[in-house]
């Protein structure tokens, strides 16, 4: 069922989001921004990367609508735009929960198989 209100724009947005999220540096940048806005220099600091390289990642994130620029003209801080990310992770999260249920039951089956294999419990 399609969540109401977003119409047909979701699949395209979702695709751009996933493409942007495919890179570990970009995910780390987003994780940093989840704690508050930051300038390009601040974002570059924890990475062994030049500012232009970080700027390139920021452009991809910006194009995907995942981040935006703050008002401070001097610092141009980047900030997280949670909505597209929430859409993507929301879908993935629901999918994950479905499989978590399956694998939780599989854990129980495996525990039983393991117990049955223990020499102490074996009839042989």
């Amino acid at each position: 069922m399609q969540p109401s209100g977003y119409g047909r724009t979701i699949p395209d947005r979702l695709d751009a989001t996933f493409a942007a999220l495919a890179d570990p540096t970009r995910r780390a940048i987003l994780a940093r921004l989840a704690t508050g806005e930051a300038s390009v220099m601040e974002l570059a600091a924890p990475f062994d990367m030049t500012q232009p390289a970080v700027s390139k990642h920021l452009k991809v994130l910006e194009r995907a609508g995942l981040i935006s620029r703050g008002r401070d003209a001097q610092r141009r801080p980047r900030r997280l735009e949670p909505k597209p990310l929430a859409e993507a992770t929301g879908w993935l999260e629901a999918y994950r929960r479905l499989w978590e249920g399956n694998f939780g039951r599989l854990d129980a089956v495996l525990a039983e198989l393991k117990a049955a294999k223990k020499p102490g419990r074996s009839k042989r």
Partner: protein, 168 residues
Amino acid sequence: MKSSGALKVTAQSDREIVMTRVFDAPRNLVFDAYTKPELLKRWLGVFGDRTMPICEVDLRVGGKYRWVWRGADGKEMGVRGVYREVVRPERLVNTEKFDEAWYPGESLITATFVEQGGKTTLTVTMRYESKEARDAVIKSPMESGVAKSYDNLAELLASGEIQRGART
């Protein structure tokens, strides 16, 4: 509630979904649970009132499988496919096609079982025919709208491969 390992799900490339999960059991057991009908029936897709009355597995290259689930209301859901690679207990490749096509085309599922220290890492890669099909699969369990929690989001981002992300 987390048991032996957290399940990681990622949308890899534009046609794939990858799931990774660690199980506290040697891989021959995980492989068995993954391929033997009497064991599959106990965990795969059987929640609430849903059972798996049909679970046929012909575990060899070119062999077919047929699984049907039935809900309390009598409604059935079926899937079938062919095994493309069977390397016990480390690798399994099969096709997947649901009777009611809720995603277009057929998908290719690759499962690898890697054992270390008595634990098994299961990695399942689902490759769809198109990104539209992949997106349909990701969206399928969504029935109550989009998850909006910002905290949840930060947690998700900070987990998994993200080492440097600060947790909030």
